[in-house]
């Protein structure tokens, strides 16, 4: 199958959908995007079950793009497909104006092209270009409803993002100087024979810092809560579900695994940054009263888990990182869908003003319990398995103290999510919420779908592990 289509179709769709006859036909573009995300999910499944039929890029000489796909890419592509689909379902209710909806879908297509490009490329400069496509598209998405706060948040994001870009670009320049070209394999080879030790360390450090900023790892997390909480609901789902993680975390995973290798210094850096991020993110979440801000801080904390898993420097750690990547994009998207539903019904994001919504919005409440428990790593949900794998990987690689941090931070995670549950859904009905009714059918459908994936991936974990996660161990480059 032609995986390069995952980049080409969205790019061409942006062009075609903006041609005069189709312009302002929001419905058409909306359904095009919906079909594309479904096709992407189907394609990933097809490739996973028919590995022999993968032809990444048949237009090789024509496109001059260096594309490749392995088990890591499939997990991420699948997450992108699912989150994109959910984003579109949510967007139907929150991006109201027709022209705006059309613009939204166009920019979303652009972002999808960028994300898929990041995942499929095997050249560090091409990676950078797609990174910028996706980042630029997400700035526009944040401000798509032209709200003042959103503009402020997007500006903050852009400033930090530019910093990251500069770092990455200088690092790429250094690599080009050392290795002679920017292909992953040549840079990796340069690590073995090159005499420019200092420059290599400098370049790796710069790149990792850039990825940390993009991922919102502490201490570079300042932009993230703002950007998540001020974006329109569907954009938050998209950002939290996949954009930040692909831009920052996937890049980090790919570069560490395919280019730098798991050097002890890098592992220690990742472990330390991961542990700090987990703890501070969770503590930050405990202190918030805004539904979306709680979830934003929770995202920071969960991203820490992925970084920590990667830092264990073992094959199991790598696959655990990817598994948590997938799980996090599902349960965090679900929680943001829930927050969108409650915000739409109660017109507020302040959790103190809600309470006892379970009686009024049973489906939203039930799915949010599932997402919270999965996030806290409570079995038998999917989040439990990835956290368990992370803990096993950490203990096996001789870092029991980091395992202890991961485990204790799970208690903090459970604490802030229970407090969220208590203030929003559990408890007695707040008098202001007496008139609230269940969210619109599309939102409930999106939430139930994600909840089913979380429960299904947890209960049928042998299938998920064997098909998607454990093959990753084979491409571990320790």
């Amino acid at each position: 199958m032609l995986l390069s289509l995952l980049i080409l179709i969205p790019l061409f769709s942006v062009l075609v959908l903006n041609l005069p006859p189709l312009l302002r036909r929001a419905k058409v573009s909306f359904y095009c995007a919906l079909c594309f995300t479904l096709a992407q999910i189907a394609l990933v499944f097809f490739c996973v079950f028919n590995p022999q039929s993968i032809v990444v890029n048949p237009f090789g000489s024509l496109l001059e793009l260096d594309l490749s796909a392995d088990s890591i890419s499939f997990v991420v592509l699948l997450s992108i497909g699912i989150t994109g689909f959910i984003t579109l379902l949510v967007a139907k209710y929150f991006i109201c104006e027709q022209q705006n909806e059309h613009n939204f879908v166009s920019v979303l297509f652009l972002a999808l092209a960028g994300l898929n490009g990041i995942v499929l490329t095997s050249d560090i400069f091409t990676l950078y270009v797609f990174l910028e496509i996706a980042a630029a598209a997400s700035f526009v998405l944040i401000v798509i409803n032209r709200k003042k706060n959103a503009l402020e948040a997007a500006f903050k994001y852009i400033v930090l993002s530019i910093l990251a870009t500069t770092m990455m670009l200088s690092s790429i320049a250094l690599f080009l100087f050392i290795a002679g070209n920017t292909h992953f394999a040549s840079i990796r080879a340069a690590f073995n024979y090159s005499s420019h030790d200092f420059l290599l360390i400098l370049a790796s450090g710069l790149f990792i810092c850039g990825a940390f900023i993009k991922a919102g790892v502490v201490p570079f997390h300042g932009w993230l809560p703002e950007a998540y909480s001020e974006s329109p609901a569907p954009v938050t789902v998209f950002l939290a579900g996949i954009v930040t993680k692909t831009l920052g975390i996937y890049t980090l995973i790919r570069i560490v695994n395919s280019v730098f290798g798991f050097l002890p210094a890098i592992n220690n850096l990742l472990l330390f940054a991961g542990a700090v991020t987990i703890t501070l993110g969770a503590l930050g979440a405990l202190a918030q009263n805004d539904f979306k801000r709680i979830l934003a801080y929770s995202s920071i904390s969960q991203i820490g888990y992925i970084v920590l898993a990667l830092g264990s420097g073992t094959a199991l750690g790598l696959s655990a990182a990817l598994f948590h990547f997938f799980n996090h994009s599902i349960f965090k998207a679900l929680l943001f869908v829930n927050s969108a539903a409650t915000e739409a019904q109660t017109k507020t994001r302040n959790v103190e003003a809600m309470g006892g919504l379970q009686a009024k919005m049973p489906a939203t409440a039930f799915t949010s319990v599932i997402a919270s428990l999965s996030a806290a790593g409570v079995p038998p949900l999917a989040g439990f398995w990835s956290k368990l794998m992370i803990v096993i990987a950490l203990v096996a690689s001789g870092h029991p103290l980091y395992a202890l941090v991961a485990v204790l931070a799970s208690v903090l995670t459970l604490a802030y999510l229970l407090s969220l549950q208590r203030r929003v859904f559990f408890g007695t009905l707040n008098a202001d919420c007496a008139q609230v009714v269940e969210a619109r059918a599309g939102l409930v459908f999106a939430a139930v779908l994600l909840a089913l994936i979380t429960v299904g991936a947890g209960v049928f974990f042998p299938f998920v592990l064997n098909t998607f996660i454990l093959p990753i161990e084979k491409i571990f480059a320790g």
Binding site: V378, V411, F426, P462, L465, L470
Partner: protein, 479 residues
């Protein structure tokens, strides 16, 4: 055939729990009936396995899964004994809740969670893989969280969160212990672990991590505070937490891991009895000065759990025998106490024992049943509790530790004092609250069943002893 029954014992309640809310939307009577049938089904099937496992046979279902997260259910006599005790008590409690719960909101969630609770308990007792055990362990935490917060008032929900957080804190430490065992032995399967530890010692840190999980679940000092606070739950739920399921999980896992699978370490044998002793003493004292009906009974549970841990941790045959018999007798009696508390709370409208009094005249059957259960917990012959307490004490005396014997003797005296005080204040004296009637016939019938079981446990102590004896034999030969 026996494999299928084993699978059904776990799956009927675990899967049935999710059908109940759906059925509840159609017909409430059908839902209540089905909930009872699910529990009864587990109970009857457990009893049907009893003769088979007592003859020494072990039933096993195994499905091997990636990364050692295997699905292995093993029914040996310890597991079946525990399953019988829990499911039988749960069945009575469920019968009680038909009337007790009938006029509150969220009944669908209630029945679903109670049945899931039992299903997870059944899964836990039969699981022979540490991860599988941990999964069921956490499912009980989820359902107890929802059940404790059943009334949805602010304190209820806060305390539900507290219970969830404390038990999860402990269980995550336990998980870390499990992972370090995996690191050592290369497997989560109990059979492999047992073989490994025949020749190798268990590190003290690992043992401490696992003990933290066990103590937090069975509410032993210093993780005990959530249990008295959980008294805000509906009475059948507290009965379930205290008598049938939750705190017994800790005790069971202790027996399963530290007696059957891990090597006997001197450190453990000397520390656990002391923790149990302090726990029995402190919480006995707390029960003596309490004024909240359910809190007193809750503290009593913590103190009695100390006796169970004592019996199990002494490492002698007679101690284990006493501990297991104690699980049975205490379970029956404590369930009876809480259900009586539920009747009093609902009909007298108060849990404050300083405001109650003279209820013997109004609810004689409840009072007599309460008295029977009280006698059993105190350990007065010929009630069942006497025999178990006697066995634990005789193991303790045989162990020769005088200080510890003294502590537990005080613990036992405290038990008599606080329970006598409780009974006097609530049921004797002048009637001070306008409570006119006995509880509904179904509720009274359930407490009478439990009270009679306390008495029968004493008169026919031979039957449970025979079962417990063969359980002990099998455990010690496996060791």
């Amino acid at each position: 055939m026996q494999n299928i029954s084993l699978l059904l014992i776990v799956c009927v309640p675990a899967i049935g729990a999710f059908l109940l809310p759906l059925i509840g939307r159609l017909n409430r009577g059908l839902r209540n009936g089905l909930a009872f049938i699910f529990v009864l089904c587990s109970c009857l099937l457990s009893f049907s396995l009893l003769p088979c496992v007592l003859s020494g046979k072990v039933i096993e279902i195994a499905k091997y899964l990636p990364l050692g997260f295997n699905f292995i259910l093993v029914a040996d006599s310890l597991a079946v004994f525990m399953a019988c005790v829990s499911s039988a008590i749960s069945a009575v409690i469920l019968l009680f809740s038909w009337d007790y719960i009938s006029h509150y909101d969220n009944q669908n969630e209630y029945y679903s969670m109670v049945v899931l609770f039992l299903g997870a308990m059944m899964g836990l007792v039969f699981s022979a893989n540490l991860i599988l055990m941990y999964i069921f362990w956490e499912i009980t935490a989820i359902s107890s969280w929802r059940l404790i917060g059943f009334f949805r008032k602010k304190t209820d929900v806060l305390r539900a969160d507290k219970a969830f957080l404390v038990t999860v804190f402990g269980s995550l430490l336990m998980l870390l212990g499990f992972v370090s065992i995996y690191q050592q032995t290369g497997s989560f399967d109990l059979s492999v672990i047992r073989e490994y530890f025949r020749h190798n010692p268990l590190s003290a840190v690992t043992a401490a991590l696992i003990l933290a999980g066990i103590f937090s679940k069975s509410a032993t000092l210093p993780f005990h505070t959530w249990l008295p606070d959980a008294g805000v739950a509906p009475s059948p739920v507290t009965a379930l937490l205290h008598a049938a399921v939750l705190v017994k999980i800790g005790v069971y896992v202790y027996a399963r891991l530290f007696i059957v699978n891990f090597p006997v370490s001197l450190l453990l044998c000397s520390i656990v009895p002391w923790i149990a002793g302090v726990s029995a003493l402190v919480c006995g004292g707390a029960a003596l000065i309490g004024t909240d009906f359910k809190r007193i009974v809750a503290y009593s549970t913590i103190s009695q759990i100390g006796f169970i841990f004592l019996g199990l941790s002494l490492g002698t045959e007679i101690g284990v025998f006493g501990g297991l018999l104690y699980i049975l007798m205490h379970g029956i009696a404590k369930a009876g106490l809480f259900l009586c508390a539920g009747i009093v709370e609902q009909n007298a409208g108060s849990k404050d024992i300083t405001k109650l009094g003279g209820l013997f005249k109004v609810m004689p059957l409840t009072a007599v049943s309460f008295l029977f259960c009280v006698f059993s917990v105190m350990g007065i012959p010929p009630f069942g509790g006497f025999f178990s307490k006697y066995m634990v004490f005789s193991a303790l005396v045989g162990n020769g530790n005088q200080m510890l014997t003294f502590i537990f003797l005080i613990g036992a005296i405290l038990t008599i004092l606080y329970l006598a005080r409780l009974f006097m204040l609530v049921f004797t004296g002048e009637l001070r609250i306008a409570a006119k009637r006995e509880g509904s016939s179904l509720m009274v019938a359930s407490v009478v069943i439990l009270a009679l079981a306390c008495l029968a446990g004493g008169f026919f102590v031979g039957y449970p002893s025979k079962v417990v004896q063969s359980v002990v034999n099998q455990m010690l030969t496996q060791q």
